[in-house]
Symmetry: C2
Subunit: 201 residues, 2 copies
């Protein structure tokens, strides 16, 4: 039951991706160094360049991971809500997104960092991961429930994303500024309810 029970290579690679996700989210793409990532993963920089041909590829693996987690979580929840009426389903989908944002502040941090610039990473992120999620939002999510006008969909999407996630993405600031620790279970549920009721009254 020691380390040897698992393939070491997979473990090391996993830990590198996990460390990269955290580092990229915290310091931004440029700000996070591969040495720092290696150290976080408990290994050395050489092993990163063995598993990933470039820093860009490592970043993609990190983005794949967090977006995969989000997709799995949301689809699973939506699945259990198939039979609910639209407004209840929309509300609970929003609550689940808030909970995910609290458990994984890396998501918003990564998105906010990459969405600012027009470069290859942004384009890849939008085309590969964001478009499917946006379609899902438009088709079955809040987009349908809150408003009639199709032209408001982009506004509703970014309002929802920002309202749901910011407080967790800047949790250290929130603690110092307001005294509230947004990462407690109670604060997460309060925020989920606040945002869900706001967007789907």
């Amino acid at each position: 039951m020691a380390d040897a029970a698992q393939p070491v290579a997979a473990t090391r690679r996993e830990r590198i991706v996990e460390a990269a996700l955290e580092a990229f989210a915290e310091k931004g793409y440029r700000g996070a160094s591969t040495r720092e990532i290696a150290e976080r993963a408990g290994t050395n920089q050489g092993l990163i360049t063995y598993h990933f041909p470039s820093k860009e590829e490592l970043w993609r693996a990190a983005a794949d991971r967090i977006m995969g987690r989000l997709g799995t979580r949301l689809e699973r929840r939506l699945d259990t809500l198939r039979t609910e009426e639209p407004r209840v389903r929309a509300r609970e989908a929003i609550r689940e997104f808030v909970r995910f944002s609290a458990a994984h502040p890396e998501l918003f941090r990564l998105m906010a960092d990459e969405g600012k610039n027009t470069d290859d990473r942004m384009r890849w992120l939008v085309d590969t991961h964001l478009k499917p999620r946006y379609e899902r939002f438009a088709q079955s999510g809040v987009g349908r429930v809150t408003e009639i006008d199709e032209s408001l969909l982009p506004h509703a999407y970014y309002v929802m994303a920002g309202a749901a996630s910011l407080i967790f993405a800047v949790a250290p600031e929130c603690r110092r500024l307001t005294g509230l620790d947004p990462e407690t279970a109670e604060a997460v549920e309060t925020h989920a309810e606040f945002v869900a009721r706001l967007l789907v009254p």
Copy 2:
């Protein structure tokens, strides 16, 4: 009326701070290099270290600038709304904040970047600039109007900030993802109305 009409030193310094604000907002503190900032400002790296004893000091000057602009803009608007009833005043204050976020996406980018970490810059930012703004929000802004319970204030603050600003902070992503250019005058007003009505029905 040529360049010589203004003190050159002040001009150069100004342009450096302006370039630094943009660069720090786009690439993050670590990601933005002083050489890159100098180039943006149309000068050289040596002049930056002449005007600012360290990169950290340059960052503070950039933060002072954007927070100063926000304060001036909001106080001026609130001043013209003194006689309005609370809900109208709150709604218009939110609209004004949305407009400011559209005109100055650097604000949200800088805040989102710095609020993630517990370091000297975050602490300085909170203590120097964010606390006064948060107090103002609590005392005369949306905080008073939308909800009764004082404990919801932090949630309302971050919901407002995120809902109002994210779409402009990630404008390049928004354009590619949704087809909407959030920087057009029409989109800004639509967003302002959407957020204001949502938070103050």
